[in-house]
Symmetry: C2
DNA sequence: GCCCAATAGTCGGAGCTAAAACTATCTGCT
DNA sequence: AGCAGATAGTTTTAGCTCCGACTATTGGGC
């Protein structure tokens, strides 16, 4: 080996490692899994999530949080329950998430006069600012996905995803 | 509000409730989210997961655990690390999951003679039995998904999901 | 044979998630 | 007015997930 390299923090996955992993994976028998939509939906979603995280390294916010900001930004005054349905997560999950966003000064939570149980969520200026930056990351990310899907199938693919969500929910 | 409707005890979600939720959701502005593949991938995956859980109520096992059983059943002697890659989850996640499957008597974990770091995973008879029953649930579930996607687009859709997973990973 | 890097698996910590129980508030019905 | 049931949000509990650190084992180069 020609190891002139000083290698202090050296080891990112080498080509040889990647090749080996791939071979190992290709030897796997997935059985019926190989043809089940649900399974591949899961794998694709995990991969997409990871890819987004990489794209948004500069901003310390998950895809989920980002979707939250977007929904609040687009629908000022939205309540937590409605937000949770639009976002696809439980309302109890939102409580700590929104506390966090509030703590970071990204959103405001005003009590609704007409119904004092509800909150009125909205973005602060800082929130709008961050949303704009995140939107750029997300656009880059989704362009990657678009490139993989291809322009021809994109519309149909998206439509089917929406249909799944709609008809199963 | 012409409510002549005789609703004695309406325990589960009523039609009116469902309609209201739907209206509320349809009023939401998703902004760019509405066209982003990543977001809809997430929503579809969540919906699919829920639907599977409903289909497999009789057996107390999550889709993830089911995939584990299937992969072990199809690839007896597989190691945990390879399994984790095929399954799409971290190897540290598998430790408690496999402990649980072992405790339930569904799998065996033999030490490999040639490399005593590795385990050789395999199904017990009970494991094979459960796998067979779960496969029926999963088949029903995936037939639902198929029905929603439609036979015409199914192949293409699946191919795109695989492509996403492959090219992003 | 001996050391060092790589690898298999486990453990601990932090974060996300949902379900159920709970509090506060509102609405409809009488 | 007053009560029953619905609804908004929080808390608690439990489970899953990853990451990074750790142990045990292996294999290659000297």
């Amino acid at each position: 080996m020609v190891e002139l390299d000083p290698k202090p923090p050296a080891p990112a996955a080498s080509d040889a490692q990647r090749r080996k992993r791939k071979e190992q994976l290709e030897g796997i028998d997935y059985g019926p899994l190989a043809d089940w939509i649900g399974f591949h939906l899961r794998l694709a979603q995990i991969a997409s999530f990871q890819a987004f995280a990489n794209e948004a390294l500069e901003v310390d916010l998950s895809p989920g949080r980002f979707a939250l900001l977007m929904l609040i930004g687009r629908n000022p005054g939205i309540s937590q329950t409605t937000l949770s349905r639009a976002h696809g997560s439980d309302k109890s999950t939102l409580t700590p998430a929104l506390n966090d966003l509030k703590r970071r000064g990204l959103i405001t939570r005003g009590r609704l006069k007409s119904d004092r149980r509800s909150y009125e969520l909205a973005l602060t200026a800082a929130g709008q600012d961050l949303l704009a930056r995140l939107t750029q990351c997300a656009t880059r990310h989704d362009q990657n996905l678009d490139r993989i899907i291809g322009p021809r199938d994109r519309g149909r693919f998206l439509k089917l995803l929406r249909k799944l969500h709609h008809e199963l929910g």
